[in-house]
């Protein structure tokens, strides 16, 4: 049995005016760290709410830990941990009280699960009497994760846990997830940051309620079937406009310190450099596609 099975799941809001999710299907293996990668409006939160049984689908079906999300919603609720995108603990309760509260809701005590949450909770334990509302963003996140784990869920749903968090804290958070994965917990996590994809076993790229592609981070970029170059010059803005007008250029977009140039078969590096020889400091070299290049390509398809 798979941890999560999703079959043509759809959900709309406002009497069908907003299609949040359009026939989404995929499966998550037991013990897998699965990433949903996509911008706001991709349908990530809707999918989380459906799978945690907080919403009902318009069409399609799904199971979580083998239970149907509509008919057997009750069984699912005690088996999953859910960390919503917005901080949703009680700001007026202390760190410790929040943890005890969630333990009581699930009919467990904190001691039983302490071994599981310890690597995360220990970092905020010195502040256990502080009100949750007074914690820093990073500490709130650790408390929320501890609370989501208190009943030893088999599947963890994390909705954009790293949004708005700086690069160092983000990296630490992914280290914590890797630790939980080692304990056998299945994790479905969403993020708008493409660079976090490499921390997942498999990813689904999603946009506007649809899945654009599913694979391992490594294999998903192998689907990039155009030649890709990195180009740079002294004036990057001029370069962008000139490059776009060249023959064989499918598209050209800023990509960190270089622009990425997607080329078709008619593109010739020699011709490119000759025709743009008046551009000061022009450089062109082959580049390796990344998840973000693939995402852009799939979005435009």
């Amino acid at each position: 049995m798979k941890a999560i099975e999703i079959d043509n799941l759809s959900k709309s809001y406002n009497k069908g005016k907003v299609q949040a999710l359009s026939s989404v299907s995929f499966e998550v293996e037991r013990g897998e760290l699965f990433g949903l990668i996509g911008p706001d409006g991709a349908g990530k939160t809707t999918l989380f709410r459906l799978l945690t049984t907080l919403l009902s689908p318009d069409a399609g079906r799904a199971t979580v830990d083998g239970y149907d999300i509509v008919k057997e919603y009750h069984a699912i609720r005690s088996r999953v941990g859910y960390m919503p995108g917005r901080f949703s603990l009680y700001p007026d309760l202390s760190v410790e009280e929040n943890l005890q509260f969630f333990a009581a809701l699930f009919g467990v005590n904190v001691e039983e699960s302490y071994d599981l949450i310890a690597p995360i909770y220990k970092q905020i334990e010195p502040f256990r009497t502080r009100r949750a509302g007074k914690l820093s963003g990073g500490m709130k996140q650790k408390l929320a994760l501890s609370c989501a784990l208190i009943h030893r869920p088999s599947i963890l749903f994390l909705d954009e846990p790293t949004t708005g968090v700086d690069a160092v804290s983000r990296s630490e958070f992914w280290d914590m997830l890797a630790g939980l994965k080692e304990r056998g917990i299945t994790i479905l996590v969403s993020t708008p940051y493409m660079d976090e994809a490499s921390r997942c076993d498999r990813i689904a790229l999603c946009n506007e309620g649809r899945i654009l592609g599913i694979d391992t981070p490594h294999d998903i970029v192998r689907g990039f079937d155009n030649r890709l170059y990195g180009i740079s010059a002294k004036n990057m803005f001029t370069l962008l406009e000139r490059a776009r007008a060249m023959e064989g250029v499918v598209e050209c977009y800023p990509f960190g310190q270089r622009h990425h140039l997607v080329a078709d078969d008619s593109f010739s590096v020699e011709q490119f450099t000759r025709q743009l020889s008046d551009i000061e400091g022009l450089e062109i070299a082959s580049a390796e596609p990344t998840i973000e290049d693939m995402f852009i390509k799939l979005m435009k398809r």
């Binding site: 911008p39 706001d40 820093s136 708005g164 690069a167």
Partner: protein, 247 residues
């Protein structure tokens, strides 16, 4: 680079009780520069930015923004800058045109100037067809582009962008940066914060704050050289790992 200085601060400091949120920061930003203002959560970026925008007075130090004194002329600074926050701050229940008119009015443009600049912005954004559309019904990426346009409707010398591309898809994110490039090439100074390290590479210069201080400030190329790093992400991590204080 144009040598005219639009933002200049020396030893700028903000204390809250005995906590020093911003600790003697000094730098200059030139006209037409895209100045990246990075730092870990809690490093003091927001506090520093609030002082530069005239929203909070420094405890000590000196400086000027768009020619006005940060110690005394907060109100004048507010009128001469543009500001766009990550949290969408246009009015969803007003149309595109009404939002433009409202903000133009707040910045003191007269009817003719408003008409002229709003029309020019609509044209540049290819938004002419959406003139009478309620802003609330626009896709997120469009809203962000519109926010940027409105933040520059009064042709401010400097625009402050606080994480302008959070949650935006990669295609729109790039279109947004092209608007920034364009504004900068026309002489608008851009002061921008971001958590996307690839975006730090688009900046003319980047400063990195740690524990209230500016620990590094240079072009992305020279910072990478200085820290023997392949990317700005690596530079950032090297500096931010040494942070003593949390958020």
């Amino acid at each position: 680079m144009n040598s005219e200085i639009v933002i200049s601060v020396r030893e700028l400091t903000k204390r809250f009780g005995d906590f020093t949120a911003v600790d003697r920061i000094s730098f200059d930003v030139h006209r037409g520069e895209i100045f990246g203002f990075l730092g870990a959560n809690g490093a003091g970026k927001t506090t520093a930015m609030r002082m530069l925008c005239g929203l909070s007075y420094p405890t000590a130090g000196s400086g000027s923004v768009a020619g006005f004194d940060v110690m005394r002329e907060g109100e004048k600074i507010k009128r001469h800058i543009g500001y766009m926050s990550q949290r969408f701050s246009l009015y969803n229940d007003l149309t595109v045109w009404e939002n433009m008119r409202l903000f133009a009015g707040i910045y003191g443009l007269n009817r003719r100037e408003t008409e002229e600049r709003a029309s020019a912005l609509l044209k540049r954004l290819n938004f002419e067809a959406e003139r009478d559309t309620l802003v609330g019904s626009l896709p997120l990426g469009w809203k962000q582009k519109l926010s940027f346009a409105i933040a520059t409707i009064h042709r401010p010398e400097v625009v402050f962008l606080d994480e302008p591309t959070g949650g935006v898809d990669p295609v729109t994110r790039r279109q947004f940066w092209e608007l920034i490039y364009e504004a900068a090439s026309e002489g608008t100074t851009i002061f921008v914060t971001t958590h996307y390290m690839d975006e730090a590479e688009y900046c003319s210069r980047v400063s990195i704050m740690v524990d209230g201080e500016v620990r590094a400030l240079d072009t992305p190329a020279r910072l990478k050289q200085q820290f023997a790093a392949e990317s700005m992400d690596e530079v950032f991590r090297t500096l931010a790992r040494g942070a003593q204080r949390g958020e």
